[in-house]
């Protein structure tokens, strides 16, 4: 079992901790990852507002490179950022179902000396960890059960919609099952796949803040002491705007937001620094056994 | 897709389709009732069961100028006559090997299970088959037969001429 790895732009900036924790976890589980050669921007959301076929071409370049590398022993293409994951899957979907898209994109790829036959499978790390590696195997590797962690699993929107097949689009459970296996308590809450507003926090901020407020408040009300995410944008929105939300709406929210891979890494006994825990703004809650490292600038 | 000389001349694939009365023919009727437009290249011959399909029908169709032959029967387990479609399947598998030997491309001959409710599948199957055969170009066996006959004639003449020479 090995995978091709598509970091995407976010994991190289705001989502650095996500990348660090993914690499650490996969190393620990001894699953080889090979970074996609000379990958380019997936062509996410905003770009599609200009021209869909060019956006598809951007994504398809990555799919084509992956296909070439698979021929040389690479595996499925893992895309941890929800937006990348969706755009790559969407490109795959429309190239399969829409003749026009397929024709235009293939022609464009040819101009750059690439070809794509359509064999690349796009996967999310959540899907890989739970369905390929398996919860049982992961559970056996746990050294620090995450007792005392009341986790609101937050899937966000794009990772479970609309082209993926590994979980339900409105009530996903994959991450909850993983959290339970790691010794945490997964809190059932109705917002697990409700949108965080994506880039709205940067554009129409009031609307974006309100969405995040609803999420944070509901997780708090349901007794969660941590929210886990699987998308760099969700993590950014939920974490970075908490203070602003408190100011704007008179709330007193203080919710740690971590990547599910960080949580998994801690359970597997990986040192917090290797998981980028120090990059979080809100400190993690304590587990029953062991106090977690608190970032300096909380 | 490349444009061949034949296409420029208005060549269109000719597909002969043998559909069983109970499933696939009914499905084709359903496609009609549902107004599912599909390529006009397929001509349907109704038989009671795909089990009635004599391999000679397929060979004859190719020999008379069909560019493709499509056979439609009920899904496995659904045959109106219990197991006629299994018999058809066996024959088709053998026939495919024979057609391979004759140099007739696999895309030109196809067996599909289409139930009475699958009007949509009639449409997609026919469209797909027509597209594939179109990509292959004309089979034109009758013309080839004529060529081969002429070659044979010429060969015979040549042989005859030689013999005459020897005896002369």
């Amino acid at each position: 079992m090995s995978y091709l790895y598509f970091p995407g732009c976010s994991l190289r900036s705001t989502g650095r901790a996500y990348e660090e924790s993914i690499l650490a976890v996969f190393r620990k589980l001894q699953i080889p990852l090979t970074e996609l050669e000379d990958w380019n921007c997936c062509g996410a959301t905003a770009y599609v507002s200009i021209d869909e076929n060019r956006a598809f071409t951007l994504a398809a370049r990555n799919l084509a490179i992956a296909e070439r590398m698979q021929g040389n022993g690479g595996g499925d293409l893992m895309a941890p950022c929800s937006a990348c994951y969706l755009v790559l899957e969407k490109t795959q979907h429309y190239m399969e179902t829409d003749e026009g898209v397929k024709r235009e994109v293939t022609t464009a790829l040819h101009r750059g000396g690439l070809d794509y036959r359509g064999t690349t499978k796009v996967r999310h790390p959540l899907d890989i960890l739970v369905n390929d590696i398996g919860i049982e195997k992961i559970a056996r590797a746990v050294v620090h059960p995450m007792k005392g962690m009341n986790v609101a699993c937050y899937y966000g929107c794009q990772v479970v919609r609309p082209f993926q097949t590994f979980d339900h689009a409105a009530y996903p459970t994959t991450m909850d099952r993983l959290v339970t296996a790691l010794g945490g308590r997964s809190v059932d809450w109705p917002m697990k796949a409700r949108c965080c507003g994506g880039s709205l926090t940067g554009t129409i901020q009031e609307a974006g803040l309100r969405l995040n407020r609803a999420l944070l408040k509901e997780a708090t009300a349901r007794g969660a002491n941590i929210i886990l995410t699987c998308c760099p944008l969700c993590q950014h929105n939920l974490e970075c705007y908490q203070k602003r939300i408190n100011r704007r709406f008179g709330e007193s929210l203080h919710m740690p937001i971590a990547y599910f891979t960080q949580f998994l890494g801690l359970a597997l006994g990986i040192p917090p620094r290797e998981l980028g825990i120090q990059r979080l703004f809100v400190p993690l809650p304590e587990t029953d056994g062991k106090r977690k490292e608190v970032p300096a600038h909380a | 897709m490349t444009t061949t000389a034949e296409q420029a001349n208005g060549w269109e694939p000719r597909i002969v389709a043998f559909f069983c009365n109970w499933c696939t023919y009914t499905a084709a009727d359903l496609a009609g009732v549902s107004r599912l437009r599909h390529a006009p290249n397929a001509r349907i011959i109704r038989v009671m069961c795909s089990g009635r399909l004599d391999p000679q029908f397929v060979l004859d169709a190719f020999a008379r100028g069909a560019d493709g032959v499509l056979v439609g029967g009920c899904h496995p387990g659904d045959c109106h006559y219990m197991e006629g479609n299994y018999k058809a399947l066996r024959r088709v598998r053998l026939l495919e090997r024979m057609l391979d030997g004759m140099g007739i491309h696999r895309d030109r001959f196809r067996l599909e299970w289409i139930s009475a409710s699958e009007g949509e599948k009639v449409k997609t199957t026919i469209n797909d088959m027509v597209a594939r055969v179109r990509a292959l170009g004309p089979l034109a066996l009758p013309a080839k037969f004529a060529d081969w006959d002429r070659e044979m004639d010429e060969l015979e003449h040549a042989v005859a001429a030689q013999t005459e020479d020897v005896h002369a």
Binding site: - | N9, A28, R37, R52, P55, Q56, G65, G84, S115, S117
Partner: protein, 674 residues
Amino acid sequence: MPERNGHDAPRIGFYVCHCGHNIAGTVDVAAVAKFAATLPNVVVARDYKYMCSDPGQELITTDIREEKLNRIVVASCSPLLHEHTFRVATQKGGLNPFFFQMVNIRENVSWVNDDGKAATAKACDLVRAAVRRVAVHRALETKHVRIHPDVLIVGAGISGIHAALTLANAGKKVTLVEREPTIGGHMAMFDKTFPTLDCAACILTPKMSAVKNHPNITLWSYSEVTEVSGYVGNYTVKVKRKPRYVSEELCVGCMECIDACVYKEGKTPDEFNQGLSKRKPVYIPFPQATPQVVLIDPETCIEFKSGRCKKTCVEKCDRNAIDFKQKEEIREINVGAIILSTGFKTFDAKRIPYYGYGKFPNVYSSIEVERLVNASGPTSGELILRDGRRPKTVGIIHCVGSRDKNTNRWCSRTCCMYSLKLAHLLKEHSHAEVYNFYIDIRAAGKAYEEFYDKLLEENIHFIRGRVAEVTDWCARPEEKGKLIIRVEDTMIGVVRRVPVDMVVLAVGMEPNADAQDVRRMFNISCSTEGFFLERHPKLAPVDTFTDGIYIAGACQGPKDIPDSVAQAGAAAAQALSLIDAGEVELEPNTAYVVEEDCSGCKSCLAICPYSAISRDEAKQKAVINEALCKGCGTCVATCPSGAIRQNLFEDEQIFSEIRGLLEADEPILTGGEA
């Protein structure tokens, strides 16, 4: 007039039908007729508005006489629709009816093409093939078989019950087979029926006991059909009678044994009450169950599990009806016709997780609510929720598992009306505020719109919008402890959050889980949705493609009670007309052996699924029993020496068809991909 045998040189009459605009709108029918006139042996070629009409058929009979035609080709719709019509016309003109060939240029041509040129070219090819084919047709004799006068009805809901009574009253012997321990089907579970609000039990139970008491009806409840063989008029059916562990002959339904059971309280979810109450291992589905016979569930009965029960039930039964040793029985019957009225199942609301069914206790499916408001239901008709509360506000969500391509795309037809009924009953029982969330109100039935009107006057809320979510996430303090329905009020154009105490999901109707197995057993087809497929959606709604098998009720598609009853009556009438005819014509498409060509190789023997072929050991030749042959033609294709032939599908005829299709001199000019 004696039929001409057609040994003379072929004189073919060709007719192409406009079918109004259906064919003529796409195919140039005049050009087709003109083209046909150029084909060999064609003497007459005409086009006409409606060939299936009387004047159309008249055209054929007149031409046969006046033009001395001996072969007929009609290019019109599918042979599955009108082949018989034109064969009869051919016969009326004095020809053997099998000197006829039909060309399908409607379903196969005009309805699937937009390009007139391509369609006309295709029609011409098909016509040429038919003209070639009909020239080598032969005269055939129609076979007649006798019809067994008894009828089997499978499924004893309201449809099966009605069909059984109709046939029995006409003096026919009916065997009515029901899978459940009682007859009555879904209707027996309902409280009231729309739009009249008369009680379901009051109108159904008299019919149920009429079935039980009718001398012409054999009722086999708790039984299933396991095997069907034979053909129209002569079906042999095997029925499995599941053991009740209580003798149906001895039990009088006093239910003393239930009281006496060592279980003081029921422990198993009661199927009839949709799991809203518990039953004991020995039980009767409901007080008016028919037959009035208890049964024992071996899964939960202590005697079956351990063999060490005190058997207080046996002690109590003074008729000694309880028999733990009862075994499953297989019975075999012969019938001439079969009516399938196997009904439907309700949509499993768990498939739409965002409505919270199975997660929030106060979310109910409509069928559960039917039991809940039923006076003989688990709460004796009192509206008490699973958490013991009485609702002050109720939301009824329409179209759950209907009109949704993610689940079932069809409209279930009954939900609007039963939702209105439930809204009325819920309001009557609890004085709650009742909201209906609907996409469209479909009240198309006699007195249905009037019923809707009545509900509007009762001040029931009607919000036009499909609910997106039922959630316990409250945005305001007043929403706490409620279920919040999130919906766009599309009439007002604003998203609303409606807090309610009880949610009713108006679940749609689906084919039974085993509909595919059943249809295989009876050799009929299902539609795309999985409901049994009728022979023609308008003209043969209760017939199937298998002669002698009819369908009635919701197994054919979602239906309410009046429609099911009407269809059951129609199916009974169809069965009656078949039986009373005494005999039926069979398509003479059987296979036969040409003795002098048969080498006696036995290849054909193993291939026949009906064992119709045997070997005459004296002659060393194959022999086909015409009565057993169904005409699939598999042996014909198998015979290595070409000694087996098939009437109506002779090799020569099919080869002529192939030749006709492909002998165009010019390449066929068509309009490209559709």
